[in-house]
Symmetry: C3
Subunit: 299 residues, 3 copies
Amino acid sequence: MESITLEKLANLIGGTPLGSFDLQLSNLQDSKECDEHSVCYLKDKKFIDTLSSNAGAVITNQELADQLTEQNLIVVDDPYLAYAGASKVFFQKYNNENDSTESVFGKNVIIGQNSVVNSNCQIGNNVVIHDNVSIYSRTKIGDNCIIHSGTVIGSDGFGYAPSTDGWNKIEHLGGVEIGKNVEIGAKSAVDRGALGNTIIEDGVKIDNHVHVAHNSFIGENTAIAGQSGMAGSVKIGKNCQIAGQVGIVGHIEIADNVIVMAKTLVTKSLNEPGVYSGVMPIQKHKESLKFIAKIKNDG
Amino acid sequence: MESITLEKLANLIGGTPLGSFDLQLSNLQDSKECDEHSVCYLKDKKFIDTLSSNAGAVITNQELADQLTEQNLIVVDDPYLAYAGASKVFFQKYNNENDSTESVFGKNVIIGQNSVVNSNCQIGNNVVIHDNVSIYSRTKIGDNCIIHSGTVIGSDGFGYAPSTDGWNKIEHLGGVEIGKNVEIGAKSAVDRGALGNTIIEDGVKIDNHVHVAHNSFIGENTAIAGQSGMAGSVKIGKNCQIAGQVGIVGHIEIADNVIVMAKTLVTKSLNEPGVYSGVMPIQKHKESLKFIAKIKNDG
Amino acid sequence: MESITLEKLANLIGGTPLGSFDLQLSNLQDSKECDEHSVCYLKDKKFIDTLSSNAGAVITNQELADQLTEQNLIVVDDPYLAYAGASKVFFQKYNNENDSTESVFGKNVIIGQNSVVNSNCQIGNNVVIHDNVSIYSRTKIGDNCIIHSGTVIGSDGFGYAPSTDGWNKIEHLGGVEIGKNVEIGAKSAVDRGALGNTIIEDGVKIDNHVHVAHNSFIGENTAIAGQSGMAGSVKIGKNCQIAGQVGIVGHIEIADNVIVMAKTLVTKSLNEPGVYSGVMPIQKHKESLKFIAKIKNDG
């Protein structure tokens, strides 16, 4: 990819460059994985310990900059907002480079009517894509996958940096990687990664109306039932069973062999295998009202 | 629009006209906003106080008619069922008039593959509509909006009047109005208004699989995360954050700057800013079972 | 349909035939309804009592085989996994026979742009199918139905048999039968039956984003609001009202005239009419936290 200098990027996002002004930056990456040709952002000191040791440059605020004295920096008031700005710069570059690339299709691929496969995708052998499916650019689908009608793969994640004039869109530079023998039901949506890919491993089965947010990771042979959804950057282990209408909040991890029962909200990491639940029991409505009154009196 | 006389409308919906039989009625409107050329319906005395003072005519029952002695009326047994009938009369007229009108597109509009924009829509400048999007007639989309794949805008709301032979469809005469800088994720649905429009203000961000029902109003810069949904005629203020899988029952209001946490059901109006929640905690399933037994014993 | 002998089927699914090796089997059916030309599977002794008395053959394990001494059998280690195998055999046959059959359309049918009706469907009179709708093969839709944009009818159910090398797909041999005067909102999904059809009776109204799983049965004039969903083989009676975001677990029955309030999870059969609910009340988040702490202390 065409690169940009530290100084030029700093100018574009309204920051102050510190260090090698002429450093060529070709990518925007996550702070944990940032390589010497890339820039990342750091918005909180709790992430300093996991900052990649050979990051090319870091977008951060003055307070954190004082602790990163040996690093090439772009100092800004609000690193997350500056990251949104940088995402736009690199998005333009990515698009110029990638999106003219034709997609690659394996053998025996069946694509239904009115389905769309955008540029720069890789579709494996024996894949069946039913009707009215939308596949955004930079999606990889492994062998023997089945994608049911109306499903969307590669849509932008729900990411915005707040600012005084509203929400600033974070462009999503990552893609989606789907392993082999994966089936995805009708009307599900798998968002692309913001930085790095959303990953669905081999043998995963996903039902209808499931929402897989940006940068999620779903381990081998995990099954997720209808209308369940997860927020961004969730990591689910192997051989899990997530029942229907389950919600999973962002940035948590679920161990291998976990079963989450229907409609439960997973609000914290689940580090050991087992069966989890958390749902109010159904009752005659007048019984429910008594219970609700009790909670409020106890409150 | 071509108009219809009070008498003719009364005949079509099986009611008794009272007042000026020759009054020309050109619209069916909400009772609060009904103008002198329009007809509305009134099914409950609690709405009498907010009835527009210059409504052309009112479809109502005998009991309420006795209190509306100076009004042109159509008296029926079941005003709501008669409203369903009237909606069909005016729907036909609206369609004849409006649906031959071509849509208007701004500059730099990008429309993906297999997306449909029906008649009489207005699409602003720099709008991006991804693939397989369905936009019904009478939808307005402001500048700089992004609509992701598989989303539907303008579908009919879920409105039926019960009768002895089942559900009677209420035709939806309103449309959808979307402001500037709005982004709507993949596979969401925004229903058109029944009477008047469903309105999404500037800067609103909506994630995947969100259900915006008929006649909802979503205030400026409010963000709504994945798989949340609202019933009809909900009003949400500005700068709210509605997390994922939240439900909002019909006809309630949420103040500005309210945050509703994931999976909460909003059952009443929230009149002051703040953070709200209401979800059972996740536990090992055997712990959940103990809790459920306790509720039932206490009941 | 072209048939297969007991012996050949046993070979294909890795089982041992017992009885008339030359018996011609033309269908795979549910054990309750299996006729003399068909084969079914039995995985648990609790289903022995409801086994059809004239089933052609039964796929089962050694333990159950010992109780079915007068029956033609295919004895296997894991009947459910063998059923998955048999579903693949019959799926191929069904497809060869059925899927070259053209669909039949009634009078005054309107089909929107980019909507797909696959082979061997029957669409009644006055049906309106909006844009970007996907209808799989072997779907019947009765007169006067309305299907809104982006809805999918006939997608495969979420059914897999677990095995040591992951999930084995169960091919869905059934279809979908929709009665008259049914309306289905935008972005809903109705899965086809595994064995036998998914059935939606006359006058049913279904809102947006609803998930109707395989082999569900929805009785006359029942209304189901947005984002509700059910797991497989649920039977809902007539004139029920299922509010939004309700979940219904698999294999249960709901009586006629039941109302289930919003967001409730139905975990057991509801045998009498009435209003049911089960949802945590919304509170200021700090109040919710107190309640959660209390549950955990009591646990």
